[in-house]
């Protein structure tokens, strides 16, 4: 299998040289006057988990659709496993596992049948698929539900069945579009644990999510999208260090907003590198939270104000980069 173009790291069969499993280059997509994806490039190395985060309408789903050949980019290229979209679409899909935002499980089939039938779409032999089913159900924590239909399963179970189904062809790369949206905390934690296991097995994952804790926990690298553009890329911790002060003091309760606006609190505000307001809460981003807290205690009757001192996290980064306004058009 020849490399598709200069700079392309090579296919599955020259694995030792392989640097890149999947690569998107200069993707553009416009709908009318609206540029949904604007010169987006990224790549995924074997065993890596790349997270794509961004507000609603940032272009995450369109990007995933272009990766899958479901949407044709206006320009740009998608390569995977040394093959090119859309020319080798089916050959690429044979090596991919996909979990879409909305389940596409077969409601008339049991869990076992869902896996068997999905395996048949890959041209896998029935005996081969059958042999793998107990292991896949075990992985999805659905062994006791093998004869249940999707309608009888909880949301978390259905998502895990979708994940197990995406693993039926033993893919090198998984594309997961918001895999934990709508799940309760227990189901999310179980999903995360399973995804960690897959990463430990050496599988690569491309993940879109709205949950910053999910991104921080799972992703080795992040891509922050807004208005279809890549506005930041890097390891979660490094991105936080690069864009934010290390500590945050949140103040909320009646009268908290005065801290951000009133002249009498100007000195307090100088202790913070940045002060932001969101709803009823004031955020002090600072390198020395102790000073801010001390000044807060001195300056105000803290009785009815509540404070929270915490390290800066991905959510702060996300809000700094994409703004705190609700997107009406999203």
């Amino acid at each position: 299998m020849a490399p598709q173009s200069a700079g392309w790291a090579g296919g599955k069969h020259n694995a030792p040289m392989q640097q890149t499993l999947f690569e998107a280059r200069h993707l553009f997509k416009r709908y009318g006057d609206n540029t949904v994806v604007d010169d987006l490039s990224f790549s995924i190395a074997p065993g890596e988990c790349l997270g794509v985060i961004g507000p609603n309408g940032a272009g995450k789903t369109t990007t995933i659709r272009m990766c899958l050949g479901q949407t044709v980019p206006d320009s740009g290229e998608v390569h995977a496993f040394g093959l090119a979209m859309p020319r080798d679409e089916l050959a690429i899909k044979a090596q991919l596992g996909v979990v879409t935002q909305f389940d596409t499980l077969d409601p008339d089939f049991t869990c076992t049948e869902n896996l068997r039938v999905f395996g048949s779409y890959f041209g896998l032999r029935d005996t081969e698929v059958r042999a793998r089913i107990p292991q896949l159900l075990e992985f999805a924590a659905l062994a006791s539900k093998q004869n249940a239909k999707p309608g009888e399963l909880s949301g978390g179970m259905r998502r895990r069945l979708s994940l197990a189904r995406a693993l039926v062809n033993d893919p090198q790369l998984l594309l997961l579009d918001e895999p934990t949206t709508g799940l309760d905390p227990q189901a999310r934690h179980l999903m995360w644990e399973r995804l960690q296991r897959l990463l430990q097995q050496g599988k690569a994952i491309l993940l879109t999510t709205h949950f910053m804790d999910e991104a921080e926990r799972l992703c080795s690298r992040l891509l922050v999208l807004d208005h279809g553009k890549k506005i930041a890329e890097g390891r979660p911790r490094e991105l936080i260090a690069q864009h934010l002060e290390p500590e945050v003091v949140e103040v909320y309760g009646q009268g908290a907003l005065a801290l951000a606006h009133d002249a009498e609190h100007a000195a307090l505000r100088t202790l913070a590198a940045r002060v932001e307001v969101s709803g009823e809460t004031v955020f002090f981003y600072t390198r020395s939270a102790r000073e801010v807290l001390a000044a807060l205690t001195a300056a105000t009757a803290l009785g009815h104000l509540r404070t929270l001192h915490r390290p800066a996290n991905l959510e702060d980064l996300f809000l700094k980069l994409t703004g705190r306004q609700i997107r009406e058009d999203a």
Partner: protein, 258 residues
């Protein structure tokens, strides 16, 4: 297009196997009620019907009706499956989207749906044929030839139905297709009464209707005769099928490429 339509066809077969008995009852009970009520009830009033405008070729009304209504059953069974059921899988359950995340192309999914709807039509037709044989309506050995012709009729009508499936925004749309396309065709294609009764203008239109050509091919076989113009009718059916399937593919691709 490749052999990858087969697992999709098998998927539909597996689902259907679970519901086969109730679905069989639904599929054959209605056509049989028409046949019995009209064939025996009206048949007693009508007596014999002349076929093909030839006063010398007279057949019992029940035979006339049976040979026409079996084509109508193939049409209805294929249309129902390729409209309501295919739309459920495509739009409501998103089964097609799931399948296309595996290495199966949209063209193969559409081909599988088309053949599946035709298979269901063939199944329905076979069950009705068995009942007709048991009732002694026809014992023509040429029914063996009618059988593959009816499969072709199923393929044609499932291809046409998939055009409307590709255009549909919801199930309501299919009501138009049934009431404005299929029902008029049923009355104009010589299923219930000889087309010679139609005014000349209407008859000229009727000549080109897909169901007319199907009936013209199948009816003589029930009477143990060969069709008078097999090539003409065959060509109409084949051309209609090819054009309809091509259009269904193009429109479905358009629906999915956004």
């Amino acid at each position: 297009m490749s052999g990858r339509w087969w697992p999709v066809f098998m998927r539909n077969l597996l689902v259907w196997r679970k519901l086969a008995i109730p679905s069989l009852v639904g599929n054959i009970a209605e056509p049989l009620m028409w046949l019995v009520a009209f064939g025996y009830g009206m048949g007693a009033l009508v007596g014999e019907v002349s076929v093909g405008g030839d006063a010398n070729t007279k057949v019992p009304y029940i035979l006339f009706l049976a040979s026409g209504s079996i084509c109508m059953s193939a049409m209805n069974a294929a249309s129902f499956e390729a409209l309501y059921s295919a739309f459920s899988r495509m739009h409501v359950q998103k089964t097609w989207d799931g399948i296309m995340n595996a290495p199966v192309s949209l063209d193969n999914v559409v081909l599988a749906e088309m053949l599946w709807a035709a298979f269901k039509a063939l199944f329905t037709v076979s069950a009705i044929l068995c009942v007709m044989l048991a009732l002694g309506i026809s014992h023509s050995p040429k029914l063996l030839v009618a059988w593959p012709v009816l499969l072709g009729v199923g393929i044609m009508f499932s291809s046409i139905a998939l055009i409307f499936n590709a255009l549909a925004k919801g199930y309501d749309f299919f009501t138009y297709y049934f009431t404005l396309v299929l029902t008029p065709m049923m009355f104009l294609s010589g299923v219930f009464f000889p087309r010679e009764q139609l005014p000349p203008v209407v008859r000229a239109i009727s000549d080109w209707l897909p169901l007319t050509n199907a009936v013209e091919l199948v009816r003589p076989l029930f009477m143990d005769q060969w069709p008078a113009h097999p090539w003409r009718h065959g060509v109409v059916l084949v051309v209609t099928t090819v054009v309809a399937f091509w259009a269904a593919l193009a429109l479905t691709r358009k629906r999915f490429r956004s």
